[in-house]
């Protein structure tokens, strides 16, 4: 079992903390980016510029 | 094929001598590094002589990188690159020619001048010849890689940061084996000979990788 009173324990905690921080940050960033893109895609679909039903060309010609 | 290679060499060498741009900046920058180092590190002679080979290599490396930045820019801007890409001479040959011109105008002169300027850093005279051989060999790889970096960033506005980020990792092996083949015999086992051979091997890898990668990068900018 991890013994929190051992010497240099600070380094162990620090490395797990930084791992959590960086991976957590990466997850948050990916989810935020995904949400922003999908919100924009929905907006575009409402304007009829993008069609997301399979088989349709996604970009409607706008002549 | 060779006539195309030679005509690029002839054209760019005349341009280099007439404009004097390439060689000037390279040697100028090199001198700056060599003069500033002792001012920064202090005049202590044996410290300087210990770091001399490494310092000279760093100066060479940075000067070659600096002078390669605009290697493709002129041809890209005035349309020559597009015409060259269209001709029946493959772009890889053109890339090799441009890299050789860069080597002749800045890589080689520096590789010869550096050891002679070594006395400024109290370079041990016994090291002058090994340093020159290593630098002449290594500078070939430096020019090839620098011209690759220049090709990758030819169309970009702020290419400076990108070139160093891209080329630095490629310079690491050249730097390591370059310095080792200069002062290798000062470490426990004398391996300066082996290091020189490995340096030559790296040059050959660069000789193969750089023209193909440069041509591919240039094509993507022209497309």
């Amino acid at each position: 079992m991890i013994d929190f009173s051992a010497d240099h324990i600070g380094f162990v905690v620090a490395s797990y903390a930084i791992t959590l921080a960086v991976l957590g940050g990466l997850l948050a960033w990916e989810f935020a980016r995904a949400r922003a893109v999908h919100r924009r895609l929905d907006a575009l679909e409402r304007d009829g510029l993008v069609r997301r039903k399979p088989g349709e060309p996604a970009v409607r010609e706008t002549t | 094929m060779t006539s195309a290679f030679m005509s690029i060499l002839k054209r760019d060498l005349t341009l280099a001598f007439r404009q004097g741009g390439g060689i000037g900046t390279a040697i100028g920058f090199f001198l700056t590094v060599v003069v500033l180092l002792p001012l920064g590190l202090g005049p202590d002679q044996n410290l300087l002589s210990r770091i001399a080979p490494g310092a000279l290599w760093i100066a060479l490396l940075l000067s070659v990188l600096l002078s390669a930045d605009k290697l493709w820019q002129a041809d890209y801007d005035d349309g020559s690159l597009e015409v060259m890409a269209l001709s029946d001479t493959p772009l890889e040959v053109t890339a090799l020619a441009k890299a050789s011109v860069h080597w002749l105008t800045s890589g080689l002169p520096l590789a010869i001048a550096a050891p002679l300027l070594g006395f400024l850093l109290n370079l041990d005279t016994a090291l002058v010849l090994p340093l020159m051989t290593a630098m002449v060999t290594g500078s070939l790889a430096l020019s090839l890689l620098a011209s690759l970096g220049a090709a990758i960033t030819v169309g970009l506005r702020q290419g400076g940061l990108l070139v160093s980020l891209l080329i630095l990792p490629l310079y690491v092996p050249v730097m390591i084996f370059g310095v080792l083949s200069t002062s290798g015999f000062q470490t426990s086992i004398d391996n300066s000979g082996t290091s020189l051979l490995i340096l030559a091997a790296i040059v050959l890898v660069a000789l193969v990788v750089s023209p193909f990668a440069s041509a591919a990068a240039l094509r993507s900018y022209l497309r």
Binding site: - | K10, T14, D78, E82, V83, L86
Partner: protein
């Protein structure tokens, strides 16, 4: 000898320039590209030359035994003149003769009336003279396909005449010539591809 394209679409700098464009250029007849700025005349020339890739459609180059690869058979004179300002007129032509594999500098100088300027550095020349030096490359290594992007920009009437005679000689030899221009050049047998009609 013939170059033709069907259903061509071109995307340039991320922008859809034109779609569904077809054309055909045969030896001996000049094809003139007309249309407003930004209609895609230059993009089409770059597609034909093989510098750029069509986003859709296909190009075919047939005749004179050189099917397939178009690029090595092309002289492509774009807006830029591809000349080095610090080299003299003669040195510029010598470089291109060496690089493109052959061609007599003397004929190239005379073709565009540049003999008097031959020892001047290109930076001393006027825009029109630089344009003539760029066009002089056409008279160097022989190429069956000429693609010219507004070649007459900056040329005086006398030089336009020289260019026209160069073009006529090229066409009479049964070669292909496609050019985008706004001026009617005195060249016999021309077809016109008007970009105004092409929807993008």
């Amino acid at each position: 000898m013939e170059i033709s394209g069907k259903g061509l679409a071109c995307e340039r700098g991320g922008r859809l320039v034109f779609t569904g464009l077809g054309f055909s250029a045969t030896g001996g007849r000049m094809l003139v590209l007309r249309g407003p700025n930004g209609a895609g005349k230059t993009s089409l020339l770059r597609l034909i030359a093989g510098v750029a890739e069509p986003a859709a459609g296909a190009l075919s180059f047939t005749g004179a035994g050189e099917d397939g690869e178009i690029a090595p058979h092309v002289h492509f004179v774009a807006h830029q003149d591809a000349i080095k300002l610090h080299l003299t007129v003669e040195e510029n032509l010598a470089f291109w003769a060496g690089f493109l594999g052959g061609g007599d500098i003397g004929t190239a100088l005379d073709a565009l009336n540049l003999r008097a300027l031959r020892s001047f550095q290109a930076q001393r020349l006027s825009a029109g003279q630089k344009r003539r030096l760029g066009l002089a490359r056409l008279a160097l290594a022989p190429r069956p396909v000429w693609l010219l992007d507004e070649p007459t920009v900056g040329l005086d009437t006398h030089s336009q005449g020289l260019l026209a005679s160069l073009m006529t000689a090229h066409l009479e030899a049964g070669n292909i010539l496609i050019a985008s221009t706004h001026i009617d050049l005195p060249v016999p047998s021309t077809d016109v591809l008007d970009f105004a009609g092409v929807t993008s």
